[in-house]
């Protein structure tokens, strides 16, 4: 069923990782990405990887999900891998030479290195959405971007749009399901034919969906007005984001990790990389 799709792939829990302040989590995730790109050799990269796995274990998220998060991005990973494999030219003799294909030792090492880095990147980033509810994420984004308000960037409006989008995704999916059944009942053929035929067959589904989405938007705006919505000005929030000791400790650990990676880059020299 379309209804079973999970959005944001949030897995509720009560681990230390779940309880971290979502603002800090976003910042720490960015720091993690920076760390991965600083890591210049296998030793530092693998250290970053081990660090990430430890965080995974702390969060209580099942390791199966690591593979689940990688699956949709597999084409990109393979693409990067192949691209690096063929297009990196080394100094020595090519290992393989078949027509226009040449593979160098450097190509293999770089390709493996880049692939590992991307895998770590994806897995680390998905930990953020696994352990943070969409609403906490939206909240955190609103607060992190709030300095931009001075530049008249519509931060509150953006966050409100995200909330409403999240709220209505399941509703609209359900509606799509209903419209599809209704059109099928009238003999619409939605599943067969080529790509273009299939796309065309979606028009009678999309048009009613759009009409109803606009109607909903209209009613929602009315309901929001009735509840005194007047934009972000003077608004308070029920749930206050609070950062505590654990957030500070998390930041310190992250800083220590980055320092460790930098040191490893400088002092650990692995021949051939």
């Amino acid at each position: 069923m379309l209804k079973d799709i999970t959005i944001g792939q949030f897995f509720p829990g009560n681990s230390i990782i779940h309880r971290l302040d979502s603002r800090f989590k976003i910042l720490l995730d960015i720091a993690y990405v920076v760390m991965l790109f600083i890591a210049g050799n296998y030793c530092s990269l693998l250290t970053a990887g081990v660090f990430m796995l430890i965080v995974y274990m702390l969060s209580g998220i099942s390791f199966k999900l690591i593979f689940k998060s990688l699956k949709p991005l597999l084409p990109i990973i393979i693409f990067t891998c192949i691209l690096n494999l063929f297009f990196i030219h080394g100094e020595g003799e090519p290992l393989v030479q078949l027509g226009f294909i040449t593979i160098y030792m450097e190509g293999i090492t770089t390709s493996v290195f880049m692939t590992v880095r991307i895998v770590f990147l994806i897995v680390g980033m998905s930990l953020l959405t696994y352990t943070t509810s969409p609403i906490a994420l939206t909240d955190a984004i609103e607060r992190l971007l709030s300095p931009l308000k001075k530049l008249h960037f519509p931060v509150h409006e953006l966050a409100m749009m995200m909330t409403i989008a999240l709220r209505f995704i399941p509703t609209l999916i359900e509606e799509t399901d209903k419209i599809m059944s209704a059109q099928k009942a009238r003999g619409a053929n939605l599943d067969t034919g080529g790509l273009i035929k299939k796309a065309k067959a979606l028009i009678p589904v999309l048009i009613p969906l759009f009409v109803s989405a606009f109607k909903r938007a209209n009613e929602l705006a009315l309901a929001m007005e009735c509840r005194c919505y007047k934009g972000g000005e003077g608004r308070t929030r029920m749930k206050q984001l609070k950062f505590g000791m654990r957030d500070i400790i998390a930041v310190l650990i992250m800083a220590a990790m980055i320092a460790l990676i930098v040191l490893m880059n400088i002092y650990v020299v692995i021949p051939g990389v």
Binding site: S133, P134, I135, T163, I164, L166, R167, P170, T171, E174, K215, R216, E219, L220, L222, A223, M224, E225, C226, R227, C228, Y229, K230, G234, R235, T236, R237, M238, K239, Q240
Partner: protein, 290 residues
């Protein structure tokens, strides 16, 4: 003490401007004409009318969503055309709509109930208290961490009601709140409405086309073609069966049954509007025949 009128309309007229395909004005269509209505604080008023009678348009005047073309609407003495007081008006008169899906804003039940209070700038601790209380009032406290799409229609509508009562309005206008619900959800909502009116003293204006629901009110206002046709207690309203039928309205089934029985010569009272009374009358008749 003088009785307070929470909502008062004075010669309310409302016209829709009609546009042609090019967006040019081609005329006006009168939706409401000369409505004079006073709603007493603490009462439970049902507004009845069939589709297109103007009942929803009237409801939208009660908290300043629509402003009369001429005449006045006073909410607790404040003229709804006074834009500087619009948030006072909307806090006094809350509104619940037909489709529960389209009035829930947040992805978590309690966040949604907090929405109005957040807009009003209420301090966080106070929001927390009022949200919990509102959710307990409509008996949805156990679902406070749920996502709206996991709830049934009746539950969603109760969340929407909680979102309104968290503002502590003195009056709630409900625009066909049960029209999209199944019989079970309808029952839940009617029980909630009655409870809010009786136990919490909130004035309720229920816009509906279900006769059974209107029969539960203290007072019924029948609207037809933008005018007030009848305005009385339910028993008096539903005894005028021919008039109601002539404007496309039904009467409660119990009343209809009594009406048909009376037509065929059986002596039954003409002011029966709910099923229990009806059962009692039939029981008495059958008993006396034995």
């Amino acid at each position: 003490m003088e009785e307070r009128q929470i909502i008062k309309t004075e010669d309310l007229i409302f016209d829709y401007t009609v546009f042609d395909e090019n967006g040019d004005e081609t005329g006006k269509s009168r939706v409401l004409s000369d409505i004079n209505l006073s709603i007493k604080e603490g009462s439970f008023v049902a507004v009845l009318g069939h589709n297109g009678s103007g009942k929803s348009t009237l409801a939208k005047h009660f908290n300043g969503i629509l402003i009369p073309s001429s005449g006045k609407v006073l909410v607790d003495g404040i003229d709804t055309s006074d834009e500087s007081r619009i948030y006072d008006i909307r806090q006094t008169v809350g509104m619940v709509f037909q489709n529960p899906d389209n009035q829930i804003v947040a992805t978590i039940v309690e966040e949604d109930v907090a929405f109005a209070l957040e807009n009003l700038g209420v301090p966080p601790d106070e929001i927390r208290r009022r949200v919990d209380k509102a959710l307990k009032t409509v008996d949805m406290y156990d679902y406070k961490d749920h996502a709206p799409h996991q709830l049934s229609g009746g539950q969603k509508q109760r969340v929407a009601i909680a979102g309104i009562i968290a503002m502590r309005p003195r009056c709630i206008v409900m625009d066909e709140p049960t029209a999209m619900l199944d019989p079970k959800g309808r029952k839940e909502i009617m029980a909630t409405i009655k409870m809010l009116n009786k136990e919490h003293g909130i004035t309720v204006v229920l816009i509906t086309h279900y006769m059974e629901e209107a029969a539960k009110a203290d007072r019924v206002v029948v609207i037809d073609k933008g005018k007030i046709l009848l305005d009385d207690v339910p028993k008096k309203i539903f005894s005028q069966i021919e008039l109601l039928k002539s404007v496309g309205l039904d009467v409660p089934q119990a009343t209809e049954l009594m009406y048909e029985l009376r037509k065929s010569g059986i002596d039954v009272p003409d002011d029966i509007i709910d099923e229990e009374e009806c059962v009692q009358v039939l029981y008495d008749i059958l008993k006396s025949k034995e």
